[in-house]
């Protein structure tokens, strides 16, 4: 999931996710890691990404960082699920600017460009 997300956040403009098949994996919950990642991610891109994979529980606006240490784990649990447990198995990442699709097969996004795009 993060790869799409990191990809998403990282290509200058977030890539849209076109979900074919999404799988869920169970991953150990690690609050420290999530806090660390929270500072790095672009919230809107994550919300969008998670929603296109069928998970709409994240708040629209980036919550205040204080929620991380509030002792209430509800938010962290949601972040955990969206960030680590959702995997795009088949589908595509779509560039919102050009409409160019990068296919995802067996969980591996193919970001190769064609000759004429380099």
């Amino acid at each position: 999931m993060l790869s799409c997300n990191i990809k998403g956040v990282s290509n200058g403009f977030p890539l849209r996710i076109e979900a074919g098949k999404v799988i869920e994996k169970e991953v150990d919950f690690n609050p420290d890691f999530l806090k660390h990642m929270f500072a790095k991610i672009e919230w809107k891109a994550l919300v969008e990404g998670a929603r296109s994979m069928g998970y709409a529980e994240l708040p629209e606006d980036s919550p205040d960082a204080t929620v991380l240490d509030s002792g209430d784990e509800t938010f962290l649990r949601k972040l955990h699920h969206a960030l680590l447990e959702l995997h795009l198995e088949e589908g595509a990442l779509v560039c919102p600017e050009t409409g160019r699709k990068f296919p995802v097969n067996k969980g591996i996004p193919n970001m190769l460009l064609h000759e004429d795009e380099v």
Partner: protein, 208 residues
Amino acid sequence: MKLKQLEGLLGDLQQFSNPKVELEQYPTGPHIASRMLFTAENSYGDISDKVVADFGCGCGTLSAAAALLDASYVMGFDIDPQSLETATLNAEELEVEIDFVQCDITNLELKGQIVDTAVMNPPFGTRKKGADMEFLSAAMKVASQAVYSLHKTSTREHIKRAALRDFNAKSAEVLCELQYDLPKLYKFHKRKEVDIAVDLWRFEPRQN
């Protein structure tokens, strides 16, 4: 995890079944891979609980080592789909989570320092001149904390100069010199194995 144990686990991984010469596909052996990641973890604390990227991950030896040493999230990047398939199988076999992305490192557009640590065994640039430098340049842009990489010892001065001057490195240090045996994968190698001297580097990127 002990070094021996790590080396043992990595020794069981599948390697390139059909190495592609032009991509410089030779496996990072378990000996080198285990030492590389072990040092990163035990001397510098750059692996456990960190986000780690492996550039030119091939069959995923370095990615797997990072995951085994408790990196919190590992990503492997390679241009070659066959290798990534093998890497995926290797990760499943070890029961570790790694996300693989097929891409060309030389025109990868990543936004800023999105990982903590990058580890890589780039092409040495023997087939495509400058490939090693392109990998280093890309890695220095995505890692915020450290980049570990292998380069031919014969290029040491050049690497150091380029890293400090062109790639935004705060420090560039050779941690050790290693013997890298290139198995006779390719016809143009005359002897059975060619040992070449490589340096294990640690670079620290400047904060952007």
